[in-house]
Amino acid sequence: MTAPEKRLPGSVAELPNSAPRYVGRPIDRVEDPALLTGRTQFIDDVVLPRMLHCAILRSPHAHARIASIDTREAEKLPGVVAVVTGEDAKRWSNPVMTVPPGWGTHCLATEKARFVGEPVAAVAAASRYVAEDALELIAVEYEPLPAVADARKALELGSPLVFEENGDNVMLRKLFTWGDIDGAFAGAVHVVQREFRWNRLGANPLETFGVVSQWDELAGTLTCRGSFQAQHHFAMARAMVFNLPLNRVRFISHPHGGSFGGKGGARGTDITALLSRKAGGRPVKWIEDRMEYLAGGASQAWDRHYDAALALDAGGKVLGFRVRLLDDLGATAEGWGAVSAAKPLTSFTGCYAIAAAQYDLTIVATNKLPGSPYRGMGPPPHNWVLEQLMDLAARELALDPAEIRRRNFIAPDAFPYTIASGNEYDSGDYAAALDAALAMGDYPALRAEQARLRAEGRYLGIGLVNTIEPGVFDWNAYAIVGQPGTGVPEGATVGIDLFGKLTIKVGFALEGQGQYTVAAQVLADWFTVDIADVRVIALDTLSAPPHFGPGGSRLGVALTGAVLGAAQRLTEKLVAVAAGLFRTPPEHVELRDGRIGVKGRPEASMPFQEVAQTMLARSDLLPPGVDPNPEATYVWTAPGRTPADDQGRAKSYLTAANACHLVLVEIDVETAQVHIKKYWIADDCGTRLNPANVEGQTQGGVAQGVGAALLEEAVYDEDGQLRTSTFMDYLLPTIYEVPMTEKRALCTPSPFTPLGAKGCGEGAMHTTPGAILCAINDALVPLGLELREVPASPQRLWTLLRQAKR
């Protein structure tokens, strides 16, 4: 029998260290020297013996039957080793599993192509140049079919069907009701209802996806090196696609240049695996180029039509919140984009105590790129709708936007608080964040300046938005779209070597967020060593402990739990050995400030490294029966998670960080340009394990939020042709468009997590689009205009402004 597991430290003060040097400090990242000197090995740096290069032929049609494919001329081109088409995919693989189920295809189009950019054939050749030359020699005979590129038209009778066998284009339709929503609206004094349109946009990591696949026919194994965000998840899916036992699939994730949910790459991985098989087991590399990424990668998300309403009483208290969402997921459900329609359940009613809510959700298929995850995973549009309605309600009730929010906040003494849609918020003080932001920006002075300049014919707008950032994702949050499972494991192995140095082994690759630094900080403070004595290394799917990796603002918390759990287990081993050496019962022995010793007897202690050295090199001194391995593994999973009920209600995301954004914009009403003049953020994500990391996450989220609010849009014409196929037309924000925000940190620790930290990777993205649009609409109030479409492009704004002139 083993003793019950010790509780993990809930705060920094509980660490066995009188003076922690690292946790909670903005220390330099251990990842950066290699990154900044160009020595980090990314996937395109990988060269394997006899490696071939893949290029992919893609459908130029949004919807077309494939009558024939002739690859003979391509195969004759010198340097070409293998060519694959949908026939090979059918012979050697299965259609990919999807959420919702039944809306997936093979990695290469078989009978028909369903979107522009869908892979149709692929070549493995001696170089990428030759492979692209060979693509021009492949003759594909297409029979174009009518395409549907508009979600509303996809619902009409007689619409072209993306999957004929499914009977219509509805991937999912369900009504979720939480509380007495009809009563709330029937009893309301004010109802504010509007339609909103969020246009497609998505993740754009600096590095696109890349993979090198190797199929070993004899051993029956598939080995893939690549820029995988979640390598184990990827390996599981490939095992199913290729009918391989999971232990015959080995995934090795390489450091990669960001993901934001946009790494994708499933089709490229499967295509290179097929090519490697056909090429007799030679490794095949595919590096997705930017045009492939924009047309056929994981680059698009959140194509949404909203109709939403708030019911309020006479005092501005929100009684009910109704959302009807028509979500256009594109041609298939392969990209996990449907999850983004589910995640809003984790924080449906935002920072507010709203007793009743309703979600009327329809997900449809169209002939556009399948939707993928993107940082935030759905709440950014949802929050924008909710916060815009709060502003509209404030105007109707003649309340200040700050005041209406204050009247509806969940009270600081109400935590843990279960929201209408079922999730539980751990802790928070929302009015404190609001007050902090208002103070930073000197809100009364901003309003006075706005009034003064309006008299001069200038249009300034102030946006003020409070949001929740659900952190530490759980599969149960996505049950409504068909995702199975509760609990997401994250493991770490911590070991001490013979020379007394520490290693942390994890199952995820460097991605940019600084998690290796966090792991090293936590362990260095646990054992009271210099952080340089800790090394973090990534293992592949077959050697790492159970893991998921980064996603859903989980890894900072989950990894902290895994490292602390492993360190605690390792310490118990050291204690058992030291107890024997000191001839004292183990319960009298402890780790404190880097020494293992007898409690209350400082002279009876030794450095923890010496205990490990004894375990490895002095078996003659070891007490009988002890484990001589100074290494321990711990797999952390969020405690207390519950499966979803029939209305999708679950304890899902473990933490609820919150933030208040205050932004000042000016609209040039002649040219329809929006200028962000100032931006303030008060942010509470509990304990900040590394405040510099948090600030980077926040500022980066603001950048993507500015892109969403003003610039980024994947535009399709009515025939499903992509009109934004390069970065000339798909506009990312640059340093010139993104304001450096003024930030203030608040701290309400989480009572549920190790060290009290909360997920903090997505909060700014959750908040920024809503804040900027609220500011734009605040500026438009004197003109009697409302902009309810994102992005607020100058063309849209100009069209609206012109209406006012008429």
């Binding site: 030359d133 021009e136 329809a672 340009q673 009109r723 390069t726 100058p794 063309q795 069209t799 012109r802």
Partner: protein, 291 residues
């Protein structure tokens, strides 16, 4: 995004370069800075059999400013001109215009001649050339010739240069005395091609009336466009907001259908042109008063 096969030549002289262009008539492309051509190659939208790189030809690089104007070798990097203290001091309009071209990384690589010969209608340098009555020196199989800016830009991405002709230098005249200038544009982001832009040069009579006006619009047609009728409206009239507004309306109204794309409709571009003309004239007139 890999180019198809092409040959690559680095001639050491203009004679050698024109000879190559003659021998590969119609199937060769001149490479100067590569900021437009290289992406076109990688996207396989351009597929020349031969690239003739001008990088090794002597004497195509350099900036020289004198009392009459600024002479710039065709292979001079845009950034070199932008950072030239002589240009900054003696030709502030040219200096300001160069700063609006894309980003420093592009200007480090992009050449003045490359941009002019590429003739993107939304680019700044062609508009500046037209507004300033620049002259272009070209070398071809038949010898050298000088082309006036008014004759240089024919239509979208098309100039008066013959297939085997190479632009060697451009000369931007100085602004006349008692004139003020302005270059203004609206782009989606800093450094993007303009949705609409305008170069304005205004000369004032001693009494304050408008003595001369030059207006060139860019990003709103197949070439940079001189708004001659709007200029005529201005000359002799007062330098005031009403005149500038009328000129803007006229310049915008005279445009043929501007481009519609994902960023801006023709109507929006036209309206931007109207607003920007008014603003540029006001700024130019203010500068003229201080000149």
């Amino acid at each position: 995004m890999k180019p198809p096969v092409f040959d690559y030549a680095t001639p050491a002289s203009l004679a050698e370069a024109t000879d190559l262009l003659v021998r590969h008539a119609g199937d060769a492309k001149v490479l100067s800075g590569g900021q437009s051509l290289v992406p076109l190659l990688n996207m396989r939208l351009a597929r020349p059999a031969l690239l003739v790189d001008l990088a090794r030809i002597a004497d195509l690089d350099g900036v020289r400013a004198d009392a009459d104007g600024v002479a710039i070798g065709a292979m001079t990097r845009q950034r070199t001109v932008e950072l030239s203290s002589e240009v900054r001091a003696r030709h502030p309009l040219l200096h300001a215009g160069l700063q609006l071209i894309a980003h420093p990384q592009n200007r480090n690589q992009g050449t003045v001649g490359g941009s002019l010969a590429h003739a993107d209608p939304a680019a700044e340098l062609p508009a500046l050339a037209l507004a300033l009555d620049a002259t272009f020196d070209a070398v071809g199989p038949g010898g050298t010739r000088r082309i006036a800016a008014a004759d240089f830009f024919l239509t979208y991405l098309t100039t008066a240069l013959e297939a085997a002709e190479i632009l060697t230098a451009v000369r931007f005249p100085m602004l006349p005395a008692r004139t003020g200038w302005s270059i203004q544009e609206v782009a989606r982001r800093h450094g993007d091609f303009a949705l609409a832009g305008v170069v304005a040069i205004v000369g004032l009579a001693p009494a304050g009336a408008i003595a001369s006006a030059r207006l060139v619009l860019f990003g709103v047609g197949a070439t940079p466009i001189r708004a001659a009728a709007a200029e005529a409206l201005l000359v002799g009239g007062p330098a005031d907001a009403a005149s500038f507004g009328r000129a803007g309306a006229r310049a915008a109204g005279d445009l043929e259908e501007p481009l519609t794309d994902v960023h801006a409709s023709a109507d929006y571009r036209r309206d931007l042109a109207r607003v920007l003309v008014g603003r540029a004239l006001a700024e130019a007139a203010t500068r003229a008063r201080g000149a």
